[in-house]
Every structure is written in structure tokens, then in C-alpha cells.
Symmetry: C2
Subunit: 359 residues, 2 copies
């Protein structure tokens, strides 16, 4: 028998989840030499994705989140890259590298019904990786966060050459892609980040035109300063990953007919209701004719509409070095809770993933 | 010589304008028997329109309003219904009833250049009124506020049968039209108002499904209560005339894929910046996939796109009694400042106009 550790949601957190209290590592055993279920699979987990939406799934049912919460006392779930150890399914053979939404555990036993489904239906797909790119990219730039950035930037942001885009959480999984796509479209790009190292990275490595650190400068002041430095009148597209004070700052500095792509509000999701930030610049939406639009990557006119285009272009652009991807890897299921909370707090630098085992 | 009184902006107001201080009546004289300017007109003013956007024009230049402010020590300007006393223009003859943007004064002297222009270019048009409707309707349901309601409801709100619309300032110039149009489209309609008389009016006279008085009930509670009473899950379209706390309440109770038509924020426009209301429910924009869109009736895809359709349909619907219009008339240029401030404070009941003289 082999030990099979998993990350369990033990309690509904109130603020940031607390490792050892809300999130626990639990161990069970698995017989890797046993036959897989009839028509099913046994999988070994290599990489798991950390994404901000997971905080929304740690809320009580009907708390207003857009998807069902994780049940208590069960493992946290997200996209993963796995290897087929044994297969009784005609769709897979031993050593296939697959992608799918799975429990945060070292191994997975998959029944026939699930093994028959594609990844977007809750099952698995063999990874389609013609250029032999690093597999964990398929959890980031080539996965949900990349598709999120790609679809919403084009569908809502409507990038236009010469215009100015501001993106918050700019070194994060979505932000780094949004900014690089906007640069490719000939936009001026400003990013906000939470550390000096990240600020340097997005300017020096990713070629953003300007950046500020929201922890060392008030967002309204930092954004205004950088706009002046790069000779931009205001913001045409604000790609909002954080909400709160940075949204307010952006609204105050938008150009007429600006677009706000509301992707997330990670600055607000772990706050108690009474601590929520009140956005004061909403009256400017009228006179400036702003559009603010929220979306989820699974909406039909978002991710599904852009899936093929995103895979084709992004694989090529990464291979050609046109798009650079930074990932932040937490090692070992033992450290998975800390990695998850660190991502929620913005401590990761680049797309956050958990490495469960060597691939 | 005849006395010609006018309403003058004497000072930039800080909160609500103060009659006798910020807004003054000034008198001059005019010779009504003199010939009009070569190619020009002399006009007598009958009705003038009061609209919330006028508060934005009492701000200092570059204060972020979307149009140029009124210069100090000159008359306030807005749309009016006037009679031609004498004409040297081929476009007009004596006793024509015309519409155009004019000074708040009893008489107007118009030069040739301006007399040659249409109303939407700063000049005048002879009123096109085939059904002989009350002329002051052309300042309301058949004028800018009606076109505002019509164009934005269809362009942004996208009314759909069976869905629920909530409109604030529901007995006002725009709100009463929005609500009745939505009823025509088969929507459930909820309105908020600032008095019991207005609440009764929109339910009993206009046929709204439900209403609450935001002065006697917290908007979040009132809206929730009325939604329950009419058996609606939430709000699909929020038509926002007021911003602030009611916007926050609506966001909290929107259905997925809801639309917010941002028409105005009259609750906020006369506040000092430090008193501005902070909207706390903005994070819900993401998960609910909301769209919030601001507009100005003059935007090409708004008023201009719908002008013909609006005139044709609305004239017919008013003639046929399908759309009811309530107007709030202040009498006499002497009382024009009080009428303007009353409108800004929501004291009017229906579309606010100033009657300067009998037509």
C-alpha cells in the first residue's frame, strides 16, 4: 500500500483560510498495484493549479458565489496535470499525461463514468502539446487563467492600438498574460503589483510601459504618476483583478468610453462584509460613458468562444518567446495549504501551482 | 420697452444651489416693436425644461463634468418652447411655436447665424406636433428626457418579457417613461420614489408592480421586500437615476447577467467629495456577470440612433393613452431658481418644467 495525502477543507474560513485549522492534510492509503475500476483509471498527480476562485468555493452554500462550494471534510479541487498509472478505459493508456479537475491528493481513482468524459465535462483529456512545452503551462497561460485573460481582453476590453491599458495583479496568472497580449496589440500598458521585485519584473522582463507598487503608493497617486510618466491622458481599459481601492483609482482616471473588465476582486473576497471597500467614483460611469462588465471564463461568449484560438495562438507565441510566462511553484502536498493561502494573499510571483511529484 | 427677466448663475454652488445667492433673477429691457436682427428672430418664452444635468453645468471648468459649465453671470440655459414674435428668417414666421436651447429669460433675440441652425445644432425647429399634443410634453416625454429613457432602455437595458426592472426616481422625467416602456415590453416593474404620494402614483396610475419610498425604508430592505411581494427572484435591469445607496442595493439583488443602465447619480452630484457614498457591492459584478454602462443621450448609439423611432412611437402612445405623462410646473420666471433647486432635491413630482408665460 502507498500513502495518499490530500488537502481537506475542514472548516469554512472567515478571513484568509488558516492552514492546520481550515485546511488540513489528511492521509489515507491506496493500492497502486490493484486493477483500476472497470473502465476507469488510477492516476498519479504531478501538478495542481491554485486560482483565486477557489476562495469563493470555501464559502457556505448560497453565499452568493457563482459556483457550488467545496463540501466540508472533502479535498479541495482544481485543474491538474496527471499521469496514467493504469487504465481500463479505451481513451487512455499507461503513462499518458492527462489534464482534468481533480482532488488535491497524490493519487486519484477514477470510475468508468468519469473516465469517459472530457476534461470540460469533469473528466480528462490527454494533453495536446505538439511543441513539447512545459506541462505546467497548461494550468496557467495555456489553461484556465490564460483563457480567462485572452477571452475577456478581446471580448470586453476590445484592445485598440495606441490606447492605454491598466491591469492590477499584473504579475499574476491572468495579469501577466493580459499585459503581454495588450502590448502585442500596440497598447501602452501599466501594471500594479505588490512588491518591488514584481514591479521590476513586469517592466524589465515583460516590457510593460510603467508600473507601481500598491503597497508603497496609494493607487490613485501611483496610477496618476505613471500615466504622466508614459504620456497617457488616462486609462482606456482597466483589467480588474482586485477590485476595491484600485478599481476606485482606475474609475477616477478613465478616459471617456473606457472599458472595465471585471475579472476578480481578490482584495475583497477574504474581507468581512463590514470591512468591504466602498467605491466612491461610480458617478463617473455616467459622464465618462464607461462600461463595466463582469464575466466568468465558462460563459458561452467567453472561454468557449475563444478556446481554439487561444490554444493555437498562445502555444505558438510561447514557443516563439513572444509571450513569457512566470510560474510560482509550491513543492509537496504537505505545503499545499500554505501555497493556497499565499496565492490568495498575493505572495506568489506569477501563476501559482503546486508540484505534487516530478513529471 | 418691455421688462425681460432672466435667471443668472451668479456663483458656483458647493452643495445645492442657493436661490438669491448662487442663482439670481436679473432684469433688463427689450423693445418688442424693434425689428429682429437681419435674418434673425425675436422670441417669447413659454416653457423651459429643468433637468438634473444642469447641476453638472454649475461646476467649475474641468471639474470632470461631461459638458462645458455655464459661464458665471450669464443666464442658465436649457431646452424651451417659444413663440416667434417677429422673424427676419426664411425658416420661421410670426406665431410659429419653436423648440430650441435658450437662456432662462422671458424673451430672446436670435441672430441670423443661429436662426439658420436646427435645434440640435444650437438653433431652432418649428415644433412637429401632428396630434396637437400639449406642447410642454416636447420638453419631457417627447424631448430629451423621453429620448434618454427610450434609447438607453432599449440599447443598454435590453428589456425582455418576464424579466424584472427596477427604476429609481421612478416618478421623475426619465423614470416614469422607463417604467411604462418596460411594462409595455411585458416586464415586472419596481420603482423607488421619495414620497408616499409618488409611491401611490406609480403603482395606481402608472401600473408599476411594486414600489418603495427610499426615505422611509432602507433601499436594500425596500427592494428586497417588494421583490418578494411580486414574486421576482431578483432584478434583471436596474435603471439608475440616482447612484449611491440605491445602486448598492440593486447590485446586491441583481440576477445573473443583469444590466445596469447608468443614467444619472443625482443622489451624489450635489455632495462634497468626502461625503460621497461608497458602493460596497461591486465585487458582485464578477460572479453575477453584470454589465454596468453609462451613457449620455447625445452619444451616437443612443439618442441620435433612436430619435425618429422615439418621436413616432411616443407621440402615438401618448395620443392613445398608452403612456401617461405627469409634469411638475413651476410658474413664473421669478420662481425659476426655486423650481430648479426643487428638481435637484427631488421635490418635483413628474417631469419638471418652468412656465414663463401662457401659450
Amino acid at each position: 500500500m502507498t500513502e495518499n495525502k490530500a488537502l481537506i477543507l475542514a472548516k469554512t474560513p472567515t478571513g484568509y483560510p488558516i492552514p492546520g485549522e481550515d485546511l488540513l492534510i489528511k492521509s489515507s492509503t491506496i493500492d497502486l498495484n490493484a486493477a483500476p475500476p472497470e473502465g476507469g483509471l488510477i492516476l498519479k498527480t504531478h501538478y495542481l493549479s491554485y486560482d483565486p476562485y477557489q476562495r469563493g468555493k470555501m464559502k457556505p452554500p448560497n453565499a452568493g458565489s457563482y459556483s457550488q462550494p467545496y463540501p466540508l471534510d472533502t479535498p479541495v479541487i482544481n485543474a491538474g496535470i496527471l499521469r496514467v498509472i493504469s487504465s481500463s478505459s479505451p481513451r487512455f493508456k499507461t503513462n499518458d499525461i492527462v489534464i482534468g479537475y481533480v482532488a488535491f491528493s497524490e493519487y486519484q481513482i477514477v470510475d468508468a463514468e468519469r473516465a469517459a468524459k472530457s476534461a470540460d465535462q469533469g473528466g480528462f483529456d490527454v494533453l495536446s502539446n505538439p511543441f513539447g512545452l512545459d506541462e505546467k503551462l497548461f494550468l496557467g497561460a495555456l489553461g484556465m487563467s490564460g483563457l480567462t485573460a485572452y477571452s475577456s481582453l478581446y471580448e470586453v476590453g476590445k484592445p485598440a492600438k495606441g490606447e492605454t491599458l491598466f491591469v492590477s495583479a499584473a504579475s499574476g496568472a491572468v495579469g501577466q498574460i493580459v499585459g503581454q497580449l495588450a502590448k502585442r496589440e500596440g497598447m501602452k500598458v501599466i501594471g500594479s503589483v505588490g512588491s518591488e521585485a514584481k514591479r521590476k519584473y513586469i517592466v524589465e522582463e515583460l516590457g510593460f510601459d510603467g508600473a507601481f507598487n500598491y503597497k508603497s503608493e496609494k493607487p490613485a497617486e501611483g496610477l496618476k504618476r505613471v500615466l504622466g510618466e508614459i504620456g497617457a491622458k488616462g486609462v482606456d481599459v482597466y483589467y480588474d483583478n482586485v477590485g476595491g481601492e484600485q478599481l476606485d483609482a482606475a474609475l477616477g482616471l478613465m478616459n471617456d468610453r473606457g472599458r472595465v473588465v471585471s475579472c476578480g476582486s481578490v482584495s475583497q473576497t477574504s474581507l468581512k462584509p463590514e470591512d468591504a471597500y466602498g467605491v466612491k467614483n461610480m458617478p463617473l460611469v455616467v459622464g465618462k460613458r464607461l462600461t463595466i462588465r463582469g464575466f466568468i471564463v465558462y460563459d458561452p461568449d467567453m472561454g468557449p468562444k475563444y478556446t481554439e484560438e487561444h490554444q493555437k495562438n498562445m502555444q505558438k507565441w510561447i514557443k516563439d518567446g513572444e509571450i513569457t510566462v512566470k510560474m510560482s511553484v509550491t513543492e509537496g502536498i504537505e505545503n499545499s495549504a500554505e501555497g493556497l493561502v499565499g496565492m490568495l494573499k498575493g505572495e506568489n510571483f506569477g501563476k501559482a501551482v503546486l508540484k505534487v511529484s516530478d513529471l
